[in-house]
């Protein structure tokens, strides 16, 4: 659990961090020399702990299966006791109003009759008053049964035999979540069939299935609870709508955006993520490549890539068509007429447009590839870092603790470093999508963005390298290393510095790089750095 909480801290940066970051929020760290950076971070490591603890204010709650069931049960009890109705009726009412207890109360006390009619909980006297031991005909199989042994009816009184009820309910449960709104089988009757009656009549497997639908409905109909989208995770996340960041980390450690259910993507917004994912999935980029580098065979229309040689092209068998690469005319006609196609024709202009279009398509493809490669590389690097983190926690930590004679609790800084890397890779990945969509004509913004991104990336690479490579020296050592404390200090520093770089980058992007608009932003920030560091 501890490590999961930590991930949460990293994400929730905007909830409680203002007091910590105020002084240096606009500082591009690069303008300090490196000694100063380390100084500034290491001076008071307690500060960092303080900061992490402040960041634990969460805007969301993870609900496990038992939590969900307990909450649902509480809501049902509340409604049942306030309205003095049965549990079954309370469930029907809650479902109708998307499990909002307050809405149920409001609607009910505003116009009870209307609500009863809408959900099928009428209090009319039953259609059929059956006296005991009378024979009654079932409305489905038309057989006669003695009452009450063989016959059941909902509040409306329409009589059906137990076997037919069972068949009716099981069919509905098998058909899906619609069984939660089951009505009396009589076509003209809208009396609701509640959970109590269903549990009384059907086999356990159907009861269970019905209950699962009920739990699902509790989550899926609710506005502020969603399932965690990770495969095989059964948790749900309740979100305080209106709070800052919508990034959420489930207890299964999967991070996702509460708004769009995609993987967590701060600082980039949901629309951009959707567009980027669509772009990555779409065949459009392949098409673009084919357009830029190939021409269709004039006969069979298969795309052909010309990789070298002369203009005399021969399409693959079975087509085998021979043509000129330049004018796409048949090679034989071509040769017979002039031997070449160098004579200028009005078509030439059209062809020029064509080549210009190809060039543009090629350029846009190269541009996309640049960003996509970096996006994807950071993605896989992040996955690797996650695996490394787990390996470190499961295997290396014990070993290192033995070799270096350090209690495991004092090695937390290594986990922190890895967690920072995992988070930074994620942010960095999305900044490449951001970079792709940053308008090309916004030159100042672009340079500012690339500057911040570059700084962050450099910091991250240093950190990643340090924990990946240097740690090995201490793992392979035969006896406690003298400089292990130096390593600790260095790694802690790098972690802090990298976090700062990324905080700046995230803030700048969330601000839509607005800082470049203020004149002399650069000089201002550099003077702030001096203040900031001296204050520490």
């Amino acid at each position: 659990m501890g490590s999961e909480d930590d991930v949460g801290n990293l994400i929730d940066v905007d909830s409680g961090d203002d007091d910590y970051d105020d002084g240096n929020s606009d500082i591009p760290m690069s303008s300090m020399n490196s000694d100063e950076e380390y100084d500034f971070i290491t001076k008071d490591p307690a500060d960092i702990d303080l900061l992490t603890s402040q960041r634990t204010q969460k805007d969301y709650t993870i609900l496990k299966d038992e939590d969900i069931r307990r909450r649902q049960e509480d809501d049902i009890k509340k409604v049942a006791s306030v309205l003095s109705v049965s549990r079954g009726a309370a469930i029907i009412l809650l479902r109708r109003y998307n499990w909002r207890v307050s809405t149920v109360h409001e609607e009910w006390f505003a116009d009870e009759e209307k609500v009863r009619n809408a959900v099928g909980l009428q209090e009319n006297p039953p259609i059929l008053q059956i006296s005991p031991d009378e024979d009654v005909s079932c409305g489905i199989c038309f057989e006669s049964y003695s009452f009450p042994a063989g016959i059941r009816a909902a509040a409306c009184g329409h009589p059906f035999c137990r076997t037919c009820w069972r068949g009716y309910i099981c069919t509905a449960v098998n058909d899906g979540p619609g069984c939660l709104m089951l009505k009396c089988p009589d076509p003209s009757c809208n009396a609701a069939i509640g959970k109590d009656m269903i549990e009384d009549l059907v086999a356990p497997e159907y009861k269970e299935k019905y209950c699962r639908y009920l739990v699902r409905s509790y989550i899926e109909d609710s506005r502020n609870i969603k399932w965690c989208p990770a495969p095989e995770c059964e948790c749900a996340v309740e979100f305080v709508v209106g709070s800052g960041s919508s990034d959420v980390i489930c207890s299964c450690s999967y991070g996702f955006c509460w708004k769009c259910s995609e993987e967590a993507h701060r600082p980039v917004d949901c629309d951009m993520v959707a567009e980027w994912i669509l772009k990555n999935n779409a065949e459009s980029e392949n098409t673009n490549w084919i357009l830029s580098y190939t021409k269709p065979c004039p006969k069979c229309k298969r795309p052909i890539e010309k990789n070298n040689g002369c203009m005399h092209m021969t399409c693959r068998t079975p087509c085998g068509f021979e043509f000129c690469w330049l004018c796409l005319g048949s090679w034989f006609e071509h040769g017979r007429r002039t031997g070449t196609c160098n004579d200028f024709r009005t078509e030439e202009e059209r062809k020029f447009d064509e080549s210009e279009r190809r060039e543009m398509a090629r350029k846009s493809l190269v541009r996309y590839t640049h960003y996509y490669e970096r996006w994807a590389a950071n993605q896989s690097s992040r996955e690797k870092a996650r695996r490394d983190l787990h390996h470190m926690q499961a295997v290396q930590l014990v070993k290192l603790s033995e070799i270096q004679c350090q209690p495991e609790t004092q090695l937390k800084f290594i986990s922190d470093a890895w967690l920072q890397i995992v988070e930074c890779r994620r942010v960095l990945k999305w900044t490449y999508a951001y970079g792709y969509y940053l308008p090309e004509n916004e030159d100042t913004k672009r340079r500012f963005f690339e500057y911040l991104q570059g700084q962050a990336e450099t910091g991250l690479e240093r950190l990643h390298m340090c924990v990946e490579k240097e740690l090995n020296t201490y793992l392979e050592a035969a006896e406690p290393s003298n400089d292990f404390n130096d390593f600790r200090a260095k790694l802690t520093c790098l972690t802090g510095v990298t976090r700062n770089y990324f905080d700046n980058l995230v803030r700048a992007i969330e601000n839509d790089l607005a800082d470049v608009d203020s004149v002399g932003a650069c000089s201002e920030t550099s003077s702030k750095i001096a203040d900031g560091s001296s204050n520490q």
Partner: protein, 157 residues
């Protein structure tokens, strides 16, 4: 299987007893298979189907009455909710609004009601639906009447 057979047998006996209960509907069970039925229904009055007699084919599933019977027109009919070629019928009670308390007899009544009150917004026969939706009632009625005369009335002479 047993339940559906028993229930169909009940319906069969009911039909035999009440033969004249509804003069517009004549339900007949297949001689050798209780899961196959045909019905002859009269086109409702004051509709373009008036005067016609339409044949329906019922195919009853083993899960009946928990599952609805499959019904189609054997007689050609020009109606927005009936497929012009296959005779398939688009009617909610034959799909998701089915209730096991319906019977073959009540399905026939529902189909007669559908003939009188077409639902042009969910058409199986788009030509017919479009005529109604564009407000060309005369066009719809004369087409429907023509097909009634061609397919659903005894040939003269």
């Amino acid at each position: 299987m047993q339940a559906s057979r028993a229930r169909l047998f009940k319906e069969y006996k009911e039909v035999q007893r009440e033969k004249s209960a509804d003069p517009d509907i004549q339900l007949v069970c297949d001689d050798s298979n209780i899961f196959k039925w045909t019905a002859l229904i009269k086109g409702p009055s004051e509709t373009p189907f008036e005067g016609g007699v339409f044949q329906l084919a019922f195919s009853v599933p083993e899960q009946y009455p928990l599952q609805p019977p499959q019904v189609r027109f054997l007689t050609k009919i020009f109606h927005p909710n009936v497929h012009f070629k296959t005779g398939e019928i688009c009617l909610d009670i034959l799909k998701n609004a089915w209730s096991p308390a319906w019977t073959l007899q009540s399905v026939c009544r529902a189909i007669i009601a559908l003939m009188a009150h077409p639902e042009p917004d969910s058409p199986l026969n788009c030509d017919s639906g479009n005529l109604l939706r564009s407000g060309d009632i005369r066009g719809y009625q004369s087409m429907a009447r023509m097909y009634t005369r061609l397919a659903a009335m005894p040939k003269k002479g």
